[in-house]
Structure formats: structure tokens, C-alpha cells
């Protein structure tokens, strides 16, 4: 190659490398920026889901009936007492963790596994369960019934 050709190939070569590098940098930056942009857009479900859930709608439960709902990672039980009041508690039996249910004939919470019984405040009153069911706070807002964990002091 002549000296002129040599001195020209240098910038071309360098430019190729520069383009290569620039392209790579851009691609890598894009692969960083893309997730960040997606991240800052809030997801459709704004509710945290853990601390407070909508257990039911206002007209859903008749007096003297119960409903199982999801509360965090465990089931919860929402009861509407015969007098119309709402109560909510954990639905995991304290004996061997079966899911309890509301018995409208007994007006009690009953566990089918070993015939354990709790009263409407969750206190264990008969059978194997050694501890009461954890109680939750109920709040009626508009036409939705919210259940949340008892706030710590």
C-alpha cells in the first residue's frame, strides 16, 4: 500500500471502531434505560394487596352467612352475624391449619377437620383448637367492605 492509502485507512479503521463502540454503547444504554422506563410507569393494580383487601361488596353477604376471601398469603373469613354486624378473622384453624367455615345453624365458626369450634369473635370454645383465630378490623367504605390487620400500637 502507498503512504497515502495507509494514512487514509487509519481514520477509516478508527471510524469503524468508533461506530462499533458507539453502537454498542447505545445498545447497552438502551438495555438499561428500557427497564427503568417501564419501571416508572405504575402498574394497573395500585393496591398493595397485603395490608388491606376488599373482602366483599355491601350487598353480597346476607345476615347469618360467611365468606372466605384471600388475605395476603392466607385465607380469611368474613362473617355477617344474624344481627347484621360484620366480623373478620383468619380462616386458618389453630389446631392443624385446616380452613374453617361459618355455620349458620350453630352461629359459630366450625372446623370440619376435627370438630373444633370458635365463637364469632374467634375465641376457641370447643374441640382441639388451642388458640383463638386472629381477628381483623372491618371497615365499610361506600359499598365495599375492607378488611385489614389490626394496627400495631
Amino acid at each position: 500500500m502507498t503512504a497515502d492509502q495507509l494514512s487514509e485507512s487509519k481514520p477509516t479503521r478508527r471510524r469503524v471502531i468508533e461506530w462499533f463502540l458507539g453502537g454498542g454503547l447505545l445498545a447497552s444504554l438502551a438495555s438499561f434505560i428500557y427497564p427503568v422506563l417501564r419501571y416508572v410507569v405504575p402498574p394497573p393494580v395500585a393496591d398493595l394487596g397485603g395490608d388491606e383487601v376488599v373482602a366483599a361488596k355491601l350487598m353480597e353477604l346476607k345476615p347469618n352467612s360467611g365468606k372466605i376471601f384471600r388475605f395476603g398469603n392466607r385465607p380469611g373469613l368474613l362473617i355477617r352475624t344474624p344481627s347484621g354486624e360484620y366480623r373478620a378473622m383468619s380462616a386458618t384453624c389453630t389446631h392443624l391449619s385446616c380452613t374453617v367455615q361459618y355455620r349458620d345453624d350453630l352461629h359459630e365458626v366450625w372446623c370440619a377437620c376435627h370438630n373444633g369450634k370458635y365463637d364469632l369473635s374467634g375465641r376457641n370454645i370447643s374441640g382441639p383448637p388451642p388458640r383463638p383465630l386472629e381477628g381483623f378490623e372491618v371497615q365499610v367504605r361506600g359499598d365495599e367492605i375492607f378488611v385489614r390487620r389490626r394496627r400495631e400500637a
Binding site: V36, Y39, P43, L48, G49, G50, R149
Partner: protein, 361 residues
Amino acid sequence: MSPLRGVRNWLDQRLGWDDLIAPLRKKTVPLHKLSYWYFLGGITLFLFVIQVLTGILLLLYYRPGANEAFESVQYIMTQVQFGWLIRSIHSWSANLMIFTAFAHMFSVLFLKAYRKPRELTWVSGVILLFLVMGFGFSGYLLPWNTLAFFATKVGTEITGQVPGIGKPVMIFLRGGEEVTGATLTRFFGFHVAVLPGLATVLILLHLLLVQRLGMSIPPKLEVQWTANPSAKREMKFFPNFSLRELMAWYVALGVLGALAAVFPWNLGVKADPFVSAPAGIKPEWYFLFMFQTLKLIPPKVWFIDGEIVGVLAFGFVGLFWLLLPFFESGQPSHMKKWITGLSIFALAYIVSMSVYGYLAK
């Protein structure tokens, strides 16, 4: 005129840009067998920046407070687009940063870069190391899971053992007598406001000192090069060294991304103050060597409680570490051998105690 030159002219006319960056253009890095160790400081800084950026992103969704913290982290991991990535990068980068901070400290120690006139750089660096560990300790609690809760309980309990000021300090840290939601709020404040503020100031000081004083040369080499200046080999910081440093930073990015995608950080189980501590609870790896040491100290040393002896010992070691440069000689030809010996011992101790603590039940 190329666009880049146009921008530079614009900046120069308004900020005196050329004069500002002139020292950077002149900055050189000594070239020798151990030059690679010079990367560590930069990587630590890079990881810190990553922490700040991912931390700010996490702040968009995280809610401090015993009732919501765990759920908000769960939300980030499951509902937010790429939330798992941001959070996992934040957790992994934290661990990597602590590792590189220690490595950076040890490399400075062995290369004797803390000598006069760089004592203040060392002091600010050691304080930064303590701050970084504080970041780790405060940040660890924020997801409010069982492991974090009990680690915080044990850690603050140990602080409370220091005679005299221990109890008040513990109450200050915990926001009360026990670890509660108040502790979480307080740690959040430390983690996102107090510590970043202090760290920023110290980092700026640290970098300023490094720029003003230039890169240190290992003592033996310094003696040689002073005797024979033509043997000195250097590399320009900009662009040569900084391009290489950019490569190192990109490698770090790749490692972080891979770790975050293949080993996402787990959530754990929400903390419940009323359950008993899980058996064999251990702190995070960077506290293991201290934790294991405390476990090995007998219950009573003389008439003093063993744990108090341990805590006080670490306090004194920390203070000594801070003031180390003032014990060292200023002459590159007369380095104190006992400091070298102590450095080797410290490294061996930390590594072996960490391994021991990890393997112990």
C-alpha cells in the same frame, strides 16, 4: 466544527470549563505490576452511584412502616414492571459494593498508599467504610422480613452492651427499647437521608484529595523511581486509564445483571415480633467475622462480661484503623514491618472468621 467541540466552547465560555478539567487532563496513573488494584476505588464509586439510582427508583414504590414495608417490597417484586430487576440489582450491588470497599481498603493498606501526605484520604476512606456498613445494616431491615428483624435485634442488642453510652445509643438506634415499626422508620431515615448526605460529603472530600495528591506509588517502586526518574512509567488518566476503567464498570454491570436475573433477591417471610427467633440466626456476611468473634469470646474475661470485652475491642480496633497512617513512617524506604504484619493478620482474620461464621451452626 464538530458538535462536541461546540458544546465544549459553550461550557468553557460560561464555566471556565477548560481550566476546570485541566488537572484531569494532566492526571497520570503509575504503571506497574500492581496497577490493576487502582480500579477498586472507581468500581466502589460506580457501585455507589448504582445504589443511589436504584435506590431512588425503589423510593417510588417502597413504603416504610411495619404494616406496609413487606407488602410494598412484595409489590415491587411481583407487580411493578422490572421491579424484580431494580430491587435485585440494589441488593446485589450493595453486597458487591461492601466487598469492593473492603478490597479497596486492603489494597490501599498493602500498597501503603495511606502514607503521608495521604492520611486524610485514608481517614475519610475508613469513615466511608463504616458508613457503607451502616448502609448495609440499615438497608437490610427495610424489607421487614423475619431474618432482617432478628438480625437488627441482635445487632442493636450488641451495641447496647457498650458500657455507659451503649444503652442510650441502642435506644437512639431502635427508636425505643425494642425493635418495632419505629425502628423501621428511623432506619429508613438513616438509609435514605442521613447516610447518603454524610457519604456524599465524604466522597467528594475523598475524591478531591485523590485528585489533588495524585495516585500513590508503592514504596519500593517510589524509592527506585526517585533514584532513576527515567524508569518511571505512567499512563494518562484521560482517556487511557478511564477507558479501561469504563471496561471494568461494564463488566461490573454485566455481573450485576446476571446475578439479578439468575439469582433474584428473595422476599422472606414478613416479620412477626411475637415469634421466637429462628435457630442459628446469623447476620449478613460482612458482619460475620465480628459476630463469630463475639461467639468465641468466653462469657467472662477476668471480671468483665465477655461480650463487652468483644465490643470494646472492636471499638478500639476501629479507632486504631482510623488513625493508622499516623503510626506509619513518612519515609518510603523505612516502612514499619509491624504494620505490614498487622495488615496480613487483619485480612487473614476477617476472611477466616467470615468463613468460620458462615459454616458454623
